[in-house]
Structures are given as C-alpha cells and as structure tokens.
C-alpha cells in the first residue's frame, strides 16, 4: 500500500479509534481538511511541505534549528471548541489535530506582520514580493530607514554558530533597537569569510554587511589570496 493510500484511508479509521497497529509510529491529523500522516516528532511545517501545502516562511532554514521568530508560518490548530494560533515551524503534530493554514486569525497575523515588515525593511524586494502575494502592497507605519533590508530574523547569527561554529556574528541590543552586530562592534578575525550568512539571509541584507563583519582575511588564507 502506498503512503498516499494510507493517508487517505486513515481518517475513517481514526473515528473508530484504537485499531491501526500497522501504522505504529504514524500520526494522523488534517491540514485544511485534508487527511495527512506524519512521523512522530515532525512539525506541522515539515508535514505540510511533505504534502506540498504552501506555508510562507522567512526565518526558517532546513539546515538550522527553527527559531519561530518571523511568525509568518503561523497556522491555527483546532480540536473541537479549542483553538490556538501556533507557529508551524516549531509545533509538533499530534493525533487528531485540525490544522488550518489560512483561517481568518492566521490571515490577520500574516497581514499585519507583512505590513509592518514593509515599513521595517522597505528596501527588501523579497519582502515586497511576499507581501504582494498576500495582498499587502502599502504600509501605514513609519519608515525609519528606507535603505533597511534586514528583518533581524537571526539566521546569519545561527548559521555562524550552529554550522560554521565560529560565532563571528551576534545580536546587539534588544526590542525595537535589536540589530545584527559583531562582538565589540568591530570586524573580527573569527570570521572565516565563508559567506554562509549571506547564503542563508532571506532578504540579501547580509550581502552588504559582510565586510563589516570580517577582519583581516589574509591572516588565515595567506596574503593576497582572499581578495
């Protein structure tokens, strides 16, 4: 029996309960009414992508630990009268949960996050496109820096620490003034100039900042080699 057939049969059996030994380790639930099967420990986003159901993300990268920062991937989890808006990139699936990726509450969060992002990083083409996709074309909020592209999702900081393992980047300050910085605010020799931060950046903001991060590359690569 193929996986697809399994998942289509499942909901009928789920109502009878306590039957399926053959599906040990699988979790049955629905996304937008469509019955889906997931493995133990999967998140909603992982399952949705498995089934080709689109959920927008900005701060999610498969190679990194999900942080749930951008909140664009929110979905509504329901069971009976209970309902809660959760982030799909972190929310583990459970038997019988109904997931809605486009409910009114979800659309409301997404619409506002996108409108506020348009004002927060107005120079980002990626964000403009994403916002347009969800029907947001203008913003009512104050644009403080028309050149800003960085949404402070922290993927660059994460990749530098989790994958490259050098911690050449970090966040400075917090709240509305939170921003990407280097330790002591100076370019540092911990940076190996690998460009991973530029690769994972969802808006390309890191491309213009890399030179503010790296110190003297020639010290590690041999004079005249890096440039």
């Amino acid at each position: 029996m193929s996986a697809r057939e399994k998942k289509e049969k499942k909901p009928k059996q789920a109502k009878k309960a306590k039957e399926p030994e053959s599906r040990e380790g699988f979790i049955n639930f629905t996304i937008n009414g469509q019955p889906v099967l997931a493995r133990e420990g999967w998140t909603v986003l992982e399952t949705a992508r498995q089934y080709g159901i689109h959920i927008p993300t900005l701060c999610f990268h498969g190679a990194l630990q999900a942080s749930g920062g951008c909140r664009l991937c929110v979905v509504e989890a329901r069971q009976g009268a209970w309902s809660r808006v959760v982030v799909s990139c972190l929310y583990p699936v459970w038997e019988g949960v109904e997931i809605l990726t486009d409910s009114e509450r979800v659309k409301n969060v997404r619409r506002w996050v996108l409108e506020m992002l348009l004002a927060d990083c107005p120079a980002s083409k990626e964000i403009q496109e994403l916002a347009r996709e969800y029907g947001v074309t203008t913003t009512r909020f104050t644009v403080e820096n028309p050149e800003e592209e960085c949404l402070r999702c922290g993927l660059c900081v994460q990749v530098c620490e989790e994958v490259v393992g050098v911690k050449a980047l970090s966040f400075a300050s917090r709240g509305v003034s939170k921003h990407i910085a280097t330790p002591y605010m100076v370019p540092n020799n911990a940076c190996v100039g690998c460009g991973s931060c530029v690769t994972v950046c969802p808006t390309g903001a890191m491309g213009t900042r890399l030179d503010q991060v790296r110190g003297d590359i020639s010290r590690r690569t041999g004079h005249g080699y890096a440039h």
Binding site: G69, R71, V113, L117, A119, F141, G175, K178
Partner: protein, 280 residues
C-alpha cells in the same frame, strides 16, 4: 520551584493550620488570599490582603476609602502593565483568577491602579504600551513590530488624528499581536489597548472625531483657561507657571496665553480656588 515572596509568606500558615483551612478562604476556583498593591486615585494607598473573590468595589471603596473628591472611580487597571482596564460598570466583579481573565484583564503582578475622570484611557494605553515596547526582547516580529505599530496608532489618536476605521484596525492589530507573539509578553501586551477600546470606545471617538480629550490629559487636544468668575487674583499660578505665560495684576483677573502654554497643568495644581482653572 517557588521564588515569589507572597507565595512563600503563605507557606508557614498553610503548614500551621492545614491546606483545608487555607482552601476554605476565597472562591471555589481561586482559593486563599491575595495581596494587591492598591494605588492611584484612591484615599488609602498601599498593600492590601483580601480573600479571593471579593468585589472590586469592596477593595476600592471600603478598603481604599474611595476616590478623593469624586463619587466613584472611573476604572481600575489590574495585573500590571499588561493587565486590562476594568470600568466602574463592572465594579461588582469578583476578584479572582478566572473572572479577571474573562474580563480581559489578569491577576498578574497584583497591581491595582485606580483611575478617576481625570485619567485618559488613550493616554493610559499609550503609557503601558510604551513600557511594554521597552520590555520586548525583539525576537518575534508581532511583538517587536506590533507594539511599536500599536503605539503609532495611539500616538495618532492622542493628537486627534485618525479615523473611526483606525480604531477597528488597532483592535485587529492587537488581536494579531496577541495571537502571533511567541511568549506571554506579546500575548498579553495588547490587553490595555483591547480593554480600553472595549469599555471606553466613546473616549477614543472623542479624540479622533471631536478632537477632544474628555479627561483633559492629551496635550495636543486641551487648552487651559481661567474662569473670570472664580479667579481671586492671588498670582500664585502666574508665579509658578514655568512658561511665564499667565498675566494679571494682584486681585485682578488672570489670563493664560494659550499660544505659549505648554499644558503642564501646574496652574491647576497650585490654584487655591476649586474650579478656577479650567481644562477643556
């Protein structure tokens, strides 16, 4: 793991007199007592310990001794900055965990700020939101950008700008912040906004449509003037005014130059004649 002094303070009595005795105090769902920090426009300020489930009016009127110079309070903000505003109309509300949450507020830190008719709800919401914006860690977007965004709406209202749709839009943004935020700070930060809109929508409308702040707080919408009938010409306001914008001779009527006035309200505070300085 307990680290709250109030919780610790209950432990010896529960050990000495038993859990049943303690659970006998208060309401069925919220047992025991609760300490509140009763402050604001109330005669007796300070820490008060009450059994759970007593009415809000009992705490403010009987224990707090009511509002100075006024018949009753306008509203009470409970639970600290991210709590909600409970209007006088809900004065018989039983003060316990469930009822406060249902009213859109919370027990929170046990703060109770009593407000009278000289407190503007738009300004109160703005004040708390400003505090919460400072507290935000900035990790998730609905909180980092949403609190700033809500504040932009409120700043606009307090200057008399905006439209009626903006009130609904602010409500919708508040809901998005509440639903979308990662932690309880963002999840509860919209409470002051949502409860003030729910209970005092008229006041928001006054700011936006009539360009008036009924409580006389929002500086862009108020003017101070001196009542010619009541002014006794004592010169106290003229001497205290930081702008030196009050003119008038001894025992004669004083006038405020509203162009130079910064609406600080010092004249009103120092005036010995009740009602001689009018804010509108």
């Amino acid at each position: 793991m307990l680290n709250n002094v109030e919780t610790w303070a209950n432990v010896p009595m529960i050990i000495a007199q038993g859990g049943e005795w303690y659970a006998g105090i208060g309401s069925p769902q919220s047992t025991g007592t609760k300490v509140f920090s009763l402050v604001g426009k109330v005669n007796n300020v300070g820490l008060v310990e009450v059994p759970m489930g007593v009415s809000l009016a009992h705490i403010v009127e009987n224990i707090g001794g009511g509002v100075p110079g006024q018949e009753h309070f306008k509203a009470v903000q409970t639970g600290g900055p991210s709590g909600g505003v409970i209007p006088y109309t809900l004065k018989d509300l039983s003060v316990d965990f469930d009822t406060l949450t249902k009213a859109g507020s919370m027990m929170g830190s046990g703060g109770m700020i009593v407000m009278d008719k000289r407190d503007c709800v738009v300004d109160v919401a703005r004040y708390f939101l400003h505090f919460l914006e400072d507290e935000s860690c900035g990790k998730c977007l609905p909180c980092r950008l949403g609190l700033k965004g809500m504040l932009e709406f409120l700043n606009k209202f307090s200057q008399g700008h905006g439209s009626l749709e903006d009130i609904d839009e602010l409500q919708s943004l508040a809901q998005a912040v509440m639903d979308g935020s990662l932690c309880a700070l963002g999840g509860s930060a919209p409470n002051p906004v949502l409860t003030t809109i729910k209970h005092f929508r008229d006041e928001y409308v006054d700011h936006i449509i009539n360009h008036k702040c009924p409580a006389g707080v929002c500086r862009d919408l108020i003017t101070y003037r001196i009542d010619p009938e009541l002014c006794n010409g004592c010169r106290l306001c003229a001497r205290t005014c930081p702008q030196n914008c009050i003119t008038g001779e001894k025992k004669k009527l004083h006038t405020i130059d509203s162009a130079a006035c910064i609406r600080c309200g010092v004249c009103m505070d120092v005036c010995p004649v009740e009602g001689a300085v009018i804010v509108e």
